[in-house]
Amino acid sequence: MTAFVAALLNSFDIGILLFIIASGLTIVFGVLGILNFAHGALYMTGAYLLLTLMRTLEIPFWMGLLLAPLGVAMLAVAIERFLLRRIYHRHPSFGLLLTFALLLIIDDTVRLIWGSGYHIVEPPPALRGAMSLFGVTYPLYSFFTIAMGILIGVAVWLLFHRTRIGKTVRAAALDPEMAQAVGINVPLVLTLVFGFGAWLAALGGALAAPMRTLGPAMGDTIIIESFIVVVIGGLGSFPGALLGALILGGIHGFGGRWLAEWNIVLPYIGMALVLLWRPEGLMGRR
């Protein structure tokens, strides 16, 4: 029983963090039509920016959690404005090539600025230690991550489905020309959406920093997992990102406990099965 609860908590801990990151990826794809290879690099930048804010500027964790993702979002706005905007009307492969180049550039820039060594970020004092739940001792910080993920999930859903901003974005995604004709500033919408996607990636990075090691290319694993999530859930589908992330979290949480020797291939088997059964993803539209 305790083993089951522990595996369940692990699944949520891993899954919810993946959801935050992958939702940024899926939103950007849904609206801009660009599969952002540099998403993992933006995740890494968020974590490193938090490190600098806390170490060098001695800003408390909470402020850092607020500021670091905003900093990355601003960087992303510049990337969209000066680079991505030039290739929207070209073949989709241009988007892949450009964002892959960005991944390499950001990875190496991070290495130039912060060096190639490993760093850690301390969790805030209020979230250190562990808490017991159904007989399982679990880190307090993980509960915080899970709560943050749920909060962000609900907020983003409300934003897209219950507000004027959400309608505007969906209109711009559905039919850019028509949206432009009725007075929506489509280029501005696209810029902001890309910034928002990057914000989610960087928030994931900043949230992960107190639990994981900061090192060069830390975004590489995450981008692969995020791709698996959006393929399982359906590219461009926000609820799909949640479902895909929870499935992948479950594969890690339960598979890591009882099928450890299969743990490397299980996510790919899951992905392959989904592609065979529903190529558009579990929640994707045909």
């Binding site: 305790t2 083993a3 490993y118 562990a130 290319a217």
Partner: protein
Amino acid sequence: MLRKLLVMTIVSVMAIGVSLNARAEGTVKIGAIYLLSGAFSTYGQFAKNGIELAADEINASGGILGKKIEFLLEDSTGKANVAIQAARKLVYQDNVDLLMGLDSSGVAKGLVPVVPELKKPFIITHAATPDVTGSLCNKYVFRIALNISQNTKAAALIAKELGVKKWTTIGPDYDFGHQSWEFFGGYLKQLDPEVVLSADPSFPKFKAEDFTPIINKVIADKPEGVFISLWGGDLINFIRQANNLGFFKQNFKILMSLGAATEVLTALGDQMPEGIWVGTRYWFAANDTPTNNNFVAAYKKRFGDYPSYNSQGAYAAVYAYKAAIEKAKSFEPDKIIAALENLTVDTPSGELLIRAEDHQAVVNGNWGITKADANYPIRILDPIRIFPGKDITPTPAESGCNMK
């Protein structure tokens, strides 16, 4: 007019290039291949520091037989095919005299069989798989660093002293993790036949990020001893997550075969638990010899940190080449190779002997118990246990090497 200027510029640049090449004739060129990009690039950086320091020291005191050292670095990117290309480029295009490097066992296994084609000596300074001085050994390849069998033999000797019988492992899911467990278990069984090795050891995937499922599993399994061969960023992740889950407060003994690496201790600071047995290929405070004291002081002055084992390995390799060339009184590859065999080198990690039979260095293993010390920003080892190379190195016959 403009075209003329361009041609002149190109010609003059080429002329400068040629004259530089001519000037470089009085040098001995070392080509080094390390991991310089990606998640583990910190190890390549450490190696570079070590080579730089050794080369500058040697050049300042007159070079090797009057020739200055010039070194060229290539990135293995952690892939065997890239490393093979890099080695060919170093030898055929850059005309290096000597080769060294390699961080990953996978890369080493791919590159070692190709080295005879290049006909230059190659000293491995990091990759730890026993195979490159065992089943894959050849005339050109040497290793100056502690290998898996040496380090796990030391671990098994400690495990026997600890007296507990039920052992399991947590190691990265590739050659290194599996071989570490296989060798550790094998040695421990020889030392103490009553030992029970877990039938269900844990091998999380390399660069797993999240180790909580594994940590929960090992705690639930209630072993008496856990042998951990995770390293680098994986080990840091593991230790932090294990701290959170109370792993180090459980009732079992813990051995970490690469836990005393300075980059791990530096990143973790006071999050590294105290009272744990940790091993390393080199520990900066293990030898009170002039060679080591000079190395640690010079390294700290130049790079601001305590030297990592990978810096020491690279530093030692450059000095091993110096000793071999001076012994051979020649820069001929075959004579250097002959001189490297049975060569004794004074390195920061102590005096080591490069065996003629399998080209593996008989080198000391360093273990110790982690302890906080107000004089150091990192956890240090106290007490330190040095295992003399001759006690932990398998015999040449056991290594499975056949030079013929």
